[in-house]
């Protein structure tokens, strides 16, 4: 992988790149279009999106580290089953943790916490990266991808909450008379907002490639 603009950072350029690529160049949502189920379903408010993103990032980091450290121990034939087992464990832990933080938040995120188990983003990082790389690199990769996912979910959640509920993080941002666009907090709004961000992202990349 060619290091891009990250060479000014002092660390080893190739490992910094493992971190940076998930944030932008290979962003899980905007570029790889992975993990669409939580992206569309629970990004209806900034706080839900952030909580979901952080929960996913935690599971991603922990499972990547564990998969990477066990990569010489897991036989090839049962690797997927093992990965799922590891991922499901961390998802269960996150589920308990969120319940312990706030019952309301847990109610809002609902079944989508448990569905992190089948989030293709996590399995794809375990299979494509962690099973072939060192623990350190896997952790950096997961951190980058996880934060990239948080960033993308937040972009969606913020737009949807501002337009659909006239607020951000529950704080009202528009005057009383503002008409909320209810569609934005409905599932359909998730598709529209995602399409809008993908459009902006691709448009930006095209322009940059031309220049």
């Amino acid at each position: 992988m060619t290091p891009t603009k990250t060479t000014d950072l002092k660390a080893d350029p190739s490992s910094t790149d493992e971190f940076i690529k998930g944030l932008w160049r290979e962003n899980p949502v905007f570029v790889q279009v992975l993990g669409m189920c939580p992206t569309l379903a629970v990004s209806n408010s900034a706080i839900n999106a952030l909580a979901m993103g952080l929960a996913t990032a935690f599971v991603l980091i922990m499972s990547n580290v564990l998969v990477s450290s066990l990569r010489n121990f897991i036989p090839k034939q049962v690797r997927i089953a093992s990965y799922i087992l590891i991922i499901a464990t961390f998802v269960t832990m996150v589920d308990y943790a969120i319940q312990a933080i706030s019952v309301d938040l847990h109610k809002n995120l609902g079944a989508f916490i448990s569905l992190i188990v089948v989030n293709c983003l996590i399995l794809s990082r375990a299979e494509a990266f962690a099973s072939k790389n060192t623990i350190g690199k896997s952790a950096l990769d997961a951190l980058g991808m996880g934060l990239g996912f948080v960033f993308a979910l937040f972009c969606l959640g913020a737009v949807r909450e501002i337009l659909g509920n006239a607020s951000i993080f529950g704080i009202t941002v528009f005057p009383e008379s503002f008409q909320e666009w209810i569609i934005m907090i409905l599932p359909a709004g998730g598709f529209f907002t995602l399409a809008f961000w993908l459009f902006l992202f691709n448009n930006y990349k095209l322009k940059k490639a031309k220049a």
Partner: protein, 235 residues
Amino acid sequence: MSANQILSTQPNPTEGSKKMLIAMVGIGVICALLIVLSYEGTKERIEILKAEALEKAVFKVVPGISKTRIFELTAEGTFVLSDGKDRSKTLVYAGYDDSDAFKGIAIEASGQGYADILRILYGYDPEEQTVVGFYVLESKETPGLGDKIEKDEDFLSNFKALTVALTEDLSKIQNPVVPVKSGLKKNPWEVDGITGATISSRAIGNIIGESSAKMIPLIYSQKETFISAANPNSK
């Protein structure tokens, strides 16, 4: 890399199976350990939070209380004290004020709304024989329309004094709670609907109507159970 080597240089199949078995069991044990640890670590706090959330709702529907006790409805139609953990039972929450006087009871009810099942809690005051409060526990009604049942002031004021007086032989409610069209409420047992949330507001009226017809005669006839449970030795 290494996984491939194992596969290609495998001398006999039992060796491979053994390795798989060890790997799976090993991972399973680690995972089980982690889950148990986090379960034990969070259990206490989750229970406190859940009880708090429920208590908050009970306090909202029965005004002027400071503590509550949970009862469950048995198959014979009597109420016994419960820990409230068995969700399949019909639960009611008796409310008491600072001097342990029985003030009212919160009843959980559910029914079909516009989008999905609505779960609500309503407060009943046996002294006045009225419904005194109402709170939505769970709803997936359309934001902006159906969710007015949680916010609309006029609608919520329906449940500040909704008559559910019993007939003289105490066997049933004299005038069952019924939903009516917005602005047409004439009697104290009618639930005024919301324009623009007709289905959701009507569903609430029906849920309360159905639940109260069944629960309130039972509760009224067993008032003593709740009054005497105010200060048991168990807690």
